[in-house]
């Protein structure tokens, strides 16, 4: 059978799925997509900073503790803590005004879990693209890896490069977060980079690291390179990309 595609409005963005069911029948594959979407909506319910009564909003206001909140909250904050440590403090949800804000990691975390739903159902290959944060498994065609374009920071009609993906690809850019990316160490704008991409096995961590790398700029590349399986690219204000040595560059494009 052919591929299945699905788009879902959730978490303030749109998440698109491309699923190759393989030996799985279509009904089972669609059921798996529905389950993955439920996972995304659940993450939105728990972690939305826009919904006044979400557990995260209540935690931020001090109305509940982490212990009172659903178990995912503790899990995500633990991941945030790890990301803060390995990013050298460049990703720091506790440095945000208005209370802890794990938003820079949650979208990736939720998409990673959505992919896990598809994998556990037995699909052959899949891509989940959560508003530009991408996670893949398997291959789109036998012998061909997934190819992911990285949006050009100055020209959204182009990609600055194309990479081969076997796991997570997260990109953070000033075009999306505004020109004033704050340095969590000082609370001041950095202007170190206009775009940062992190590639690695886990999209939650890649998402967080890309957020931090955008603030850190070139100086943050070494922190990512130190992590097994992770690589990165930073595009500076001059438009020139700098990558770690093992960044899975396919072609410079288009």
């Amino acid at each position: 059978m052919g591929d299945l595609r699905h788009t879902e409005e959730v978490m303030g963005t749109v998440v698109s799925f491309a699923v190759h069911p393989g030996t799985l029948d279509e009904l089972a594959a669609r059921r798996a997509i529905r389950r993955a979407c439920a996972t995304l909506h659940r993450a939105d319910t728990v972690f939305s900073t826009w919904k006044h009564e979400s557990p995260l909003s209540r935690l931020r206001r001090g109305e509940i503790t982490v212990g009172d909140a659903p178990a995912e909250v503790g899990e995500v904050l633990q991941s945030c803590s790890y990301a803060r440590e390995v990013s050298g403090g460049w990703f720091d949800p506790w440095a945000m005004p208005g209370g802890v804000d794990p938003t820079g990691l949650v979208k990736g975390w939720a998409a990673q879990r959505a992919l896990a739903d598809l994998e556990s159902a037995g699909v052959e290959a899949a891509m989940v693209n959560a508003g530009g944060d991408v996670i893949v498994s398997g291959e789109p065609e036998p012998g061909r890896p997934w190819r992911v374009g990285i949006r050009h920071p100055f020209d959204g009609s182009r990609c600055i490069c194309v990479i081969t993906a076997t796991g997570a690809v997260a990109t953070s850019g000033t075009y999306e977060r505004g020109p004033h990316v704050l340095d969590p160490h000082t609370g001041r704008p950095t202007g170190a980079a206009v775009s940062a991409t992190v590639v690695g096995p886990d999209l939650a961590l890649a998402d967080a690291l890309a957020t931090g790398l955008l603030a850190a700029g070139e100086a943050g590349l070494a922190n990512v390179a130190r992590l097994p399986g992770y690589s990165a690219m930073v595009v500076g204000g001059d438009g020139n990309p700098i990558t770690t040595d093992d960044f899975p560059l396919d072609v410079f494009a288009v």
Binding site: A18, P140, W146, R151, E176, P241, T243, A253
Partner: protein, 185 residues
């Protein structure tokens, strides 16, 4: 760290892509580029033409039949709304209009033309924006997204990392149009 060599190869590939563009017929009309006045009241999602993708309130699922996408023939006349669906291995051709998608900055709906298995044009047939700010975002995003679709096809990209919010609605509308034509990305 790696630097300069990348920029050199960028130029080379960019040239190749430009050249390959020229061999395909491209209509350059983008009627939606400056937030068209049409407006979908009420529901956030409407379908101008039937079939797949418009049934669920918060999502659209469609089966994309496996069709062979090769060649660069310039044949293929466009028939709006025609669906050359299916299971055959011939290349998809035709024109179809996608589902109207809510992007968060208004509604977007695109029409795609496929000729001999290649996307030859994408136009926004509907771009609405609830306010000036959204209009500005759309005015900037819509032409960019069109370029992204056409260039992504040249580079055989499966997805784009760092895409904007608006682009996802654009992609969703595009995908539903492609589904009607039985086109496989």
């Amino acid at each position: 760290m790696r630097r300069a060599p990348l920029v050199l190869s960028a130029t080379a590939v960019g040239m190749v892509v430009l050249l390959s563009f020229r061999t395909h017929p491209l209509s350059l009309s983008i009627p939606g580029a400056t937030a068209a006045p049409s407006r979908t009241s009420g529901s956030t999602r409407s379908s101008s033409s039937n079939t797949t993708g418009s049934n669920a309130p918060s999502g659209s699922t469609a089966t994309v039949p496996s069709t062979t996408v090769t060649g660069s023939s310039t044949s293929g006349t466009s028939t709006s709304g025609t669906s050359t669906s299916g299971t055959s291995s011939t290349s998809a051709s035709g024109t179809a209009t996608g589902v109207a998608e809510n992007t968060g900055y208004g509604i977007i709906q695109v029409r795609v033309t496929v000729s001999a298995g290649r996307i030859t044009d994408v136009t926004a047939v509907q771009v609405t924006a609830p306010d000036i700010h959204s209009q500005e975002i759309n005015a900037q995003a819509v032409p960019m997204l069109r370029g992204q679709v056409l260039s992504a096809q040249s580079a055989q990209i499966d997805g784009v990392s760092g895409a904007t919010y608006t682009s996802q609605g654009y992609d969703a509308s595009l995908q539903s149009a492609l589904d009607k034509l039985g086109y496989k990305k």
